[in-house]
């Protein structure tokens, strides 16, 4: 029975191949767009998660809390409450903490001979490479003595090295940051593209003490990077740090913290949520084309019903019931949209696989999620039912006499 209905609708569709193809194209593009867009979104999420995983799960950040002024949150680091003493107290009094690196930052124009470059200046502690799991490409990182004496030394990110020095060995050279001369003592290994948020290799690390005294004239730290002894101790470290800082900042029980301790998992979660929104946005834009494809099906089915009024009349005179005619046209619409859906899935998968061969999109990572493939297929089927129903019903309600007389 089902097979027979299928055969009848396939035959009807094959009678006008070009039109069938064009109608299907709407669904193909719609489903293809949804799948490839969502695969880009999912790819972005996977890339973010991967990067956070690489940074280590024992990483914690302390920053000034979000400050609220007349209902407007300033964002993390908005309040200036963290001091160098806080940082020292954390490493001394929190047993679960293994290493810290106080952090301040600014942006500045950097000059080497005739070249200049605008980049981010990170003031860090001497344990920065350990805390952030960052390796040194050449030279060394500055040590505790350099931090204590606020030495004018710096370590370059890979991008900065490339832009200022090209092939010259930068070690021992002097660069000027805000007109202050710094000696380059090392270069960091490249960490690569960070996926849309700018390169992490585009930065220069200097001792935080130097940054605060010579570059920023700052009294407070913007954040403290902390690594717990092990991943399992992260939660404990967080508790110890919170208790310590509340005590040091004299925060009464029940009041809000004036700082924020985040672990990597939380931050990763936040970033993943952002990419989820991106995925949803891309998916919904693509869904619009799917909707347009559905309307195309309805349009063509209406034309097809009008063209085949005579055929409908013949079928009715031979004993087709309303239901038979309804099913026949509905089946055509569903076949149209399901086949379109299958081709669309092939197209979407193909596009997301081929994207990396196009130079402009080479860095975009795509992940095809089977959920979305199944969903897209189901949606295309529903589109057939939804947009095919009205024309099919119209066909089934025709008066057999009028239909037979129709020229």
């Amino acid at each position: 029975m089902l097979f027979r209905i299928l055969r009848v609708s396939l035959r009807a569709l094959s009678r006008n191949k070009m039109r069938t193809f064009l109608t299907m194209l709407g669904i193909v593009i719609g489903v293809g767009a949804v799948i490839s867009m969502v695969s880009i979104g999912s790819g972005a999420k996977a890339a973010v998660e991967e990067r956070f995983a690489a940074m280590g799960t024992n990483l914690l950040f302390v920053s000034g809390a979000s400050k609220r002024v007349q209902g407007v949150h300033s964002g993390f680091g908005g309040s200036q409450t963290l001091t160098v003493e806080d940082a020292n107290a954390i490493i001394e009094r929190c047993p679960a903490v293994e290493a810290i690196s106080p952090s301040v930052g600014t942006r500045a124009q950097v000059i080497y001979l005739s070249k200049n470059w605008n980049t981010s200046i990170q003031g860090t502690g001497e344990r920065y490479p350990d805390v952030r799991k960052w390796e040194i490409e050449s030279g060394t990182y500055f040590d505790e003595t350099a931090v204590r004496s606020a030495a004018k030394v710096c370590v370059l990110g890979a991008d900065v090295k490339k832009n200022l020095f090209e092939d010259v060995d930068p070690i021992g050279q002097t660069i000027r940051i805000k007109k202050v001369p710094f000696i380059v003592i090392g270069v960091l290994k490249s960490k690569g593209q960070s996926g849309g948020y700018g390169s992490r290799d585009d930065q220069i690390c200097v001792p935080y003490t130097t940054c605060m005294k010579r570059l920023q004239k700052a009294e407070f730290l913007s954040s403290i990077d902390i690594s717990a002894a092990t991943s399992a101790l992260t939660a404990q470290a967080k508790m110890q740090i919170t208790d310590l800082l509340r005590d040091r900042h004299r925060i009464a029980p029940g009041s809000e913290d004036d700082f924020q301790v985040q672990d990597m998992a939380e931050i990763a979660e936040g970033a993943a949520a952002t990419t989820d929104v991106l995925t949803l946005l891309l998916g919904s834009i693509a869904s619009i084309s799917l909707l347009v494809g559905g309307i195309g099906i309805m349009n063509i089915m209406l034309v097809s019903v009008t063209e085949r009024i005579r055929e409908i009349g013949i079928r009715m005179s031979i004993g087709a019931r309303e239901k038979d005619i309804l099913i026949q046209f509905l089946a055509e619409a569903i076949v149209l949209s399901l086949v379109g859906g299958l081709l669309g899935i092939a197209m979407g998968v193909g596009v997301s696989k081929l994207l990396k061969f196009i130079p402009l999109f080479a860095t975009i990572k795509t992940v095809i999620s089977i959920h979305w493939v199944v969903l897209a297929f189901a949606i295309s089927g529903s589109i057939g039912v939804f947009f095919g129903f009205y024309p099919a019903r119209k066909a089934s309600k025709l008066d057999p006499i009028e239909a037979l007389r129709f020229e």
Partner: protein
């Protein structure tokens, strides 16, 4: 062969076309017996097409009774009417009304598609019907590759497929030349004589009508004369 197949009692039918009323049937009563070969004749607008549509279960009368094998067709719903058309009646039209770009076999099979007959049996029965109208070798030709006479024979094969009690032919020779018309009428005569199938044929051509066993003449929605031999 004297049992009653169809009984029409005081049928009326009025069409409304815009403001104007067309009284297509004004109280028609007639009895068709099983095995009859009846021609309904009359000029256009005489009500013969309306009569045909009602007998063919395509339309319902406004008032009056229509009994087919004792069952009251005038009270049936749409699905029951469709079933009547499928099981009891075979249609043959002036313009053949075959599905275009479809083979003779597929056209002939069509009534069985709507009566849940298995695919294999469908094909067998359709082939047998095509053979009985002399189209054995043409089963897989598309309808547009067939001549008018051949197309009408496909239509007859299709009408025969569910072994109907009645074949309704609406100007069956209207689009055919006289030689082909004669062939088609011979098929009808044979079906009527050999298989005892009742045939009702609408025509306005006197020489075609003369070949039926009985005739009724219609004018202004009424039967004005009947004869039979």
């Amino acid at each position: 062969m004297d049992n009653v197949l169809i009984q029409l009692v005081n049928l009326t039918k009025t069409y409304h076309i815009g403001e104007t009323e067309v009284r297509a049937l004004r109280g028609v009563s007639y009895t068709i017996k099983s095995g009859d070969f009846l021609a309904i004749m009359g000029p256009s607008g005489s009500g013969k097409s309306t009569m045909m549509n009602i007998i063919g279960c395509l339309d319902k009368p406004d008032s009056g009774q229509y009994l087919f094998e004792g069952a009251e067709v005038s009270k049936m719903d749409k699905n029951e009417l469709a079933r009547m058309r499928n099981k009891k009646i075979g249609f043959v039209f002036q313009s053949f009304n075959l599905l275009s770009r479809t083979t003779a076999l597929e056209n002939a099979e069509l009534p069985l598609v709507y009566s849940n007959v298995p695919g294999k049996e469908q094909t067998q029965r359709a082939l047998a019907a095509l053979e009985s109208v002399g189209l054995k070798g043409r089963a897989h030709h598309k309808t547009n590759q067939l001549s008018g006479g051949e197309q009408q024979r496909v239509a007859i094969a299709r009408a025969l497929l569910n072994n109907p009690a009645l074949i309704l032919a609406d100007e069956p020779t209207g689009n055919l030349d006289s030689k082909t018309s004669e062939e088609i009428l011979t098929i009808f005569r044979n079906l009527n004589q050999d298989k005892g199938i009742t045939i009702v044929m609408v025509t306005h051509e006197a020489d075609i009508g003369a070949q039926a066993k009985k005739r009724i003449f219609m004018r202004d929605g009424q039967i004005i004369r009947e004869d039979g031999n």
